[in-house]
């Protein structure tokens, strides 16, 4: 099998697993379930991932890189700090709607099943692409004088906790308006909270 085809197959597993995990939960979903969804034999599945735990970590890396890649584009644009905040918020909300399984996975599976990720995925290693880009965003913001100097996690928690909370409310169908109608007000709130 060509490398390209193999990579495509691998991505199919990841995408399929993401959907199943976010719908049925991590423990309830089995490898045969995943294999069946994408029309693959269980034996062949193990050619790609040696266990469900390994797959779980790969998913996290996959999402982190997916998010990181998008934030990187924003970081590398000429936008102002406030415009960048807006772009990150909009991108995240867009993902909540178009790829809910990714955000679900991030919020529900990763955060509530930390023990799965123990060895080899300590701290932030599996989400490093995403964290790195957020660090670069904050670093730029402080460097150019827009954002106030403070501890990274204080700022990161405010930013991502806020977005995660909105995604949660959206998922619980608590929000009276469409998620994207909150982009401007949330951008304002984040910017005001972090600016110099």
């Amino acid at each position: 099998m060509s490398t390209l085809k193999r990579l495509k197959r691998r991505e199919e597993i990841i995408e399929g697993a993401l959907k199943l995990f976010s719908k049925g939960g991590f423990y309830q979903t089995t490898i045969p379930d995943i294999a069946r969804t994408i029309g693959m034999s269980v034996g062949n599945f193990y050619n790609y991932f040696t266990s469900k735990e390994v797959l779980a970590k790969e998913l996290l890396l996959y999402i982190s890189e997916y998010l990181g890649e998008r934030i990187r584009t924003i970081n590398e644009s000429d936008a102002t700090t406030q415009e960048k905040i807006r772009a990150i918020v909009a991108m995240y909300f867009e993902m909540v709607q178009s790829r809910p399984e990714m955000i679900e996975y991030f919020l529900r599976i990763f955060l509530s099943n930390r023990e799965v990720f123990g060895e080899g995925c300590e701290g932030t290693v599996c989400v490093s692409a995403f964290i790195t880009e957020m660090m670069l965003f904050f670093d730029d913001g402080v460097s150019c004088g827009d954002l106030r100097e403070q501890d990274f996690f204080s700022a990161f928690g405010l930013f991502m906790g806020y977005l995660g909370g909105m995604a949660f409310l959206c998922g619980e169908k608590v929000l009276p308006h469409a998620l994207d109608s909150y982009v401007d007000s949330i951008t304002q709130n984040i910017y005001r909270a972090l600016k110099t």
């Binding site: 990187r72 300590e122 701290g123 932030t124 290693v125 490093s128 692409a129 964290i131 790195t132 880009e133 660090m135 670069l136 904050f138 670093d139 730029d140 913001g141 402080v142 460097s143 954002l147 100097e149 403070q150 501890d151 990274f152 996690f153 700022a155």
Partner: protein, 281 residues
């Protein structure tokens, strides 16, 4: 027998730190035997300063220490005049120390090479506050041998300044694994993240050619202050500038993304050996 090359040590605004540092060379006598020393602020020499400032003598090698202030007078003669004369006759000019190379602590008008187009091709910048005696010994020996040195963009010999102060630092492993020093006065931990160390940002051989043959700033727990670079002395020398915990400057030539990626990964592991005191069991 050929006559020895004539060396002249001239000073602008200076603390004499470079001339004193040079006296620390363990083989000073052997080194200087190859030159006729016309003038030096401490060593025996053939001319008095009053004779030097008549500009009736010529030198082959001009060693200039201190910041160049054109109107400053030495023995009643403006530095501009002295440099014009000795700069013209010298085959090579060595800017000894950071004041002469870049303006340093005392210079407001930049380094020696900014003063005249005519000399700039002859200048070797030996930055550092002060220079290490062996750095100057290398240039002196090279001059006596007639060998040329490859220079970097700031006219510093690559043999000395291609390296970073980081190279040879005993704290390198702590840097690699992102184990930060818990404060001053310890041999454990890297001084880059909190204590302002500029070893990964500064060109120099301080940890390759040890001071007094035995130590260096970082080995004795001091951050590198970046004294070999043109922006010395920077501000806030004992702390690292950070933006939301992220170092404002990362190792030379490394992108911040690359640095943060690697640092993020390294930080996730706790290496027990590196988190202990060196002398602990």
């Amino acid at each position: 027998m050929h006559s020895k090359p004539k060396a002249l040590w001239l000073q602008g605004l200076t603390c004499n730190g470079n001339s004193h540092s040079f006296l620390n060379h363990p083989q000073l006598g052997i080194l200087m035997e190859r030159f006729e020393l016309l003038y030096h602020p401490h060593l025996p020499c053939t001319l008095s300063l009053e004779a030097v400032v008549t500009c009736m003598h010529e030198c082959d090698l001009l060693l200039f220490e201190g910041a160049f202030e054109p109107t400053m007078r030495r023995a009643g003669v403006a530095l501009e005049r002295l440099l014009e004369h000795y700069g013209a006759c010298a085959a090579q000019i060595v800017a000894v120390g950071s004041c002469a190379s870049f303006g340093g602590v005392f210079g407001s008008s930049g380094g020696l090479d900014a003063q005249s187009q005519a000399w700039s091709e002859k200048i070797i910048n030996l930055s550092g506050c002060p220079i290490h005696p062996e750095w100057l010994a290398l240039i002196l020996s090279g001059f006596a041998e007639g060998s040329a040195f490859a220079l970097d963009a700031q006219r510093r010999p690559k043999a000395l300044y291609a390296h970073l102060v980081h190279h040879g630092c005993t704290r390198n492993e702590y840097f690699e694994w992102k184990v930060d020093a818990k404060g001053f006065g310890v041999n454990e931990g890297c001084l880059y993240y909190d204590q302002g160390c500029r070893g990964v940002l500064s060109h120099g051989s301080c940890n390759r050619i040890l001071w007094g043959g035995v130590s260096s700033k970082t080995r004795s727990g001091q951050p590198c202050f970046g004294c070999t670079e043109s922006d010395f002395p920077r501000r806030d020398l004992f702390k690292t500038r950070k933006n939301m915990s992220i170092p404002h400057e990362v190792p030379l030539g490394v992108s911040k993304r690359a640095y943060l990626t690697l640092a993020g990964i390294a930080k996730t592991f706790t290496i027990e050996r590196l988190s202990k005191d060196l002398m602990d069991d």
